[in-house]
Amino acid sequence: MSQQRSDNRSTRKVTLFPQRDKTVLQQLEDQGFQIPYQCREGYCGACRMTLISGRIEEVGDPIAFCGANDILACSCKVVVDATVEFWD
C-alpha cells in the first residue's frame, strides 16, 4: 500500500470509513498512526494530507492553507469512504 516518493521516506495510503464522532486525524490515531499536528483546530496546517478518493466534510471552520487535493485531518470527517495519503 505504500509508494516510494523519495530515497528514504515513503507515503502511506489508508482508507477510512464514515465515523460520525471522529475526525480523520482521530481515526488515523486510533489505528496507531502518528500524524503530526500542532493546533488540532485547523489553523496551523501541520496535519495536511492528500485526499485520493472519497468524500469528507469540513468541521470547525478551518483556516490553514489547503491545496486542491489536500485536507486538514484535524478539521474534517469522512462522509463517503475516503482514501488519504500521508508521509509515514
Partner: protein, 374 residues
C-alpha cells in the same frame, strides 16, 4: 505615483488585487474579497497574551546553574529570536502597507506585525528576569558576526522590496504609466513575491529551529518559563505562516493578478533556492550554537536533521518537491511542546504521574539539590 493615505479615486474596493491595485481608502470589512484574512485577524485577536503574565522566577536559577556552553546556546538562540522578531515587528508594515490594496489584508498585516511586537517585548521580559545585565546581550545582536550574518539573509528581500517601492512611488504618474514604469512594476511584483517566500522561510523554518532549542531546555525541566512564552509565540507563528502560505498561493494561482501568476511560475527555481539557502544557513547556525559542546537531547547533527525535516514539510505545503527526502522529525518531543490546545500547561503536566513528581520537586529549594543530577 505617490502613496495616498486616503485614496479619493472612484474604484470598486472589492475588485482590487491583493497588492499594487488602488491604495486602500475606507477601512471596511462588511464585504471581503478574501475572507480568509478577516478570519486570521479574528484568530490572532483571540490569541492575545501578555509576556508579563508568565512567571520566570525559576528560570534565573536554572540559567545560573547551566554549564557555560549551554548558557551560550540559550543566549545565542534568544538573540536570534530577538533579531527575527525585531524584523517581523516592523517589516510587514514598512514593506507591505504602502502597496496593499484590500482593507482586510491591510488589517491582517497590521495585526500580524502587532503580535510580533508582543514577541519582542517578551524577549526583554525574559532577559530582565534571567540576566543581571540584559543590555549586553541586546548590544551583542548588532556586534556579533554570527548574528549579523543572520540579519543580512533575513532582511535582504524586504529591503530590496522597500527600496524598489520607494523609487516607484516617487516617480511621476506619467513615467509609471509608460513602458519603463510598467517594467518597473513587474520587477516590483517579483520583489514582493520573493519577499513573501523569504518571510515564509523566516517564520516557518528559521523560527521553528529556534523553538527546538528553547524546548530542548524545557524537555530537561530547565528554563520552563521561557518555554511557556515560546509556546505562546509558536501558536502565533503557526497562524502567521498560514497567512503567508495563503498569500503565496493566491499569487501563484494568478487569479488575483495574472502577472503575479506568471512571476510565480518564472521564480519557482528561486523559491526552491531560497528554501535551500535558508536550510544551509540554519545548519551553519546550529554549528555555531553547539561549537563549545552540545546538550542532552540536542546537538548540531540532530538540529540539522530537524532543519531538513521542517524545510521539506514547508516546501510540501507550497506544492513543491522535498529537497532532503522528507526525513521524519528527529525530535519527536517537539510536537508535544508545539501543541497549542494545551498552551497553558507544560506537556509533562498532562501526564498525571510526572506531574506529581514535578509537584514534589517544586517545593524543594533548587540550591538544596546542589550538584544532584536528575
Amino acid at each position: 505615483m505617490s502613496y495616498k493615505t486616503f485614496n479619493q479615486a472612484d474604484f470598486n474596493p472589492f475588485s482590487q488585487p491583493m497588492f499594487f491595485g488602488e491604495t486602500v481608502n475606507v477601512a471596511r470589512y462588511d464585504q471581503q474579497k478574501y475572507s480568509i484574512f478577516e478570519r486570521l485577524i479574528e484568530k490572532q485577536l483571540s490569541f492575545f497574551w501578555r509576556p508579563e503574565e508568565v512567571d520566570l522566577s525559576g528560570d534565573r536559577k536554572d540559567f545560573i546553574a547551566l554549564p557555560e556552553h549551554e548558557q551560550h546556546i540559550f543566549l545565542s538562540n534568544l538573540k536570534y529570536q530577538t533579531l527575527l522578531d525585531s524584523v517581523q515587528g516592523r517589516s510587514p508594515n514598512v514593506a507591505l502597507l504602502p502597496i496593499v490594496s484590500l482593507p482586510e489584508l491591510e488589517t491582517w498585516i497590521e495585526t500580524w506585525a502587532f503580535s510580533e511586537t508582543i514577541h519582542s517585548r517578551s524577549y526583554t521580559h525574559i532577559m530582565r528576569n534571567v540576566l543581571t545585565e540584559p543590555g549586553k546581550v541586546f548590544d551583542d545582536i548588532v556586534a556579533n558576526p554570527a548574528i549579523v550574518a543572520r540579519a543580512t539573509s533575513v532582511t535582504r528581500y524586504y529591503d530590496e522590496l522597500i527600496a524598489q517601492t520607494q523609487r516607484y512611488q516617487t516617480a511621476s504618474d506619467e513615467w509609471c504609466s509608460g513602458p519603463e514604469g510598467k517594467k518597473a512594476l513587474r520587477e516590483l511584483k517579483r520583489a514582493l513575491y520573493l519577499t513573501m517566500v523569504s518571510v515564509n522561510v523566516l517564520e516557518a523554518i528559521r523560527f521553528y529551529v529556534s523553538f527546538a532549542c528553547s524546548f530542548a531546555f524545557a524537555e530537561r525541566s530547565k528554563m520552563e518559563g521561557n518555554a511557556k512564552i515560546i509556546r505562546f509565540i509558536a501558536r502565533d507563528e503557526a497562524l502567521h505562516l498560514t497567512g503567508t502560505q495563503h498569500m503565496l498561493n493566491l499569487m501563484a494561482k494568478g487569479q488575483d493578478d495574472p502577472e503575479m501568476g506568471e512571476i510565480a511560475a518564472e521564480e519557482q527555481g528561486t523559491l526552491v533556492q531560497i528554501f535551500k539557502e535558508a536550510a544551509e544557513q540554519e545548519r551553519e547556525w546550529a554549528k555555531y550554537l553547539f561549537k563549545d559542546g552540545s546538550m542532552i537531547g540536542l546537538n548540531a547533527d540532530i538540529l540539522g536533521q530537524y532543519v531538513e525535516h521542517i524545510t521539506d514539510q514547508r516546501l510540501a505545503a507550497l506544492g513543491q518537491q522535498p529537497l532532503f527526502g522528507a526525513p521524519k522529525n528527529p525530535l519527536p518531543w517537539m510536537d508535544a511542546w508545539l501543541q497549542s490546545d494545551s498552551v497553558q500547561v507544560a506537556p509533562q503536566e498532562t501526564e498525571i504521574t510526572t506531574y506529581l513528581v514535578g509537584a514534589i520537586h517544586s517545593d524543594v529549594d533548587a540550591d538544596a539539590l546542589g550538584d544532584f543530577e536528575l
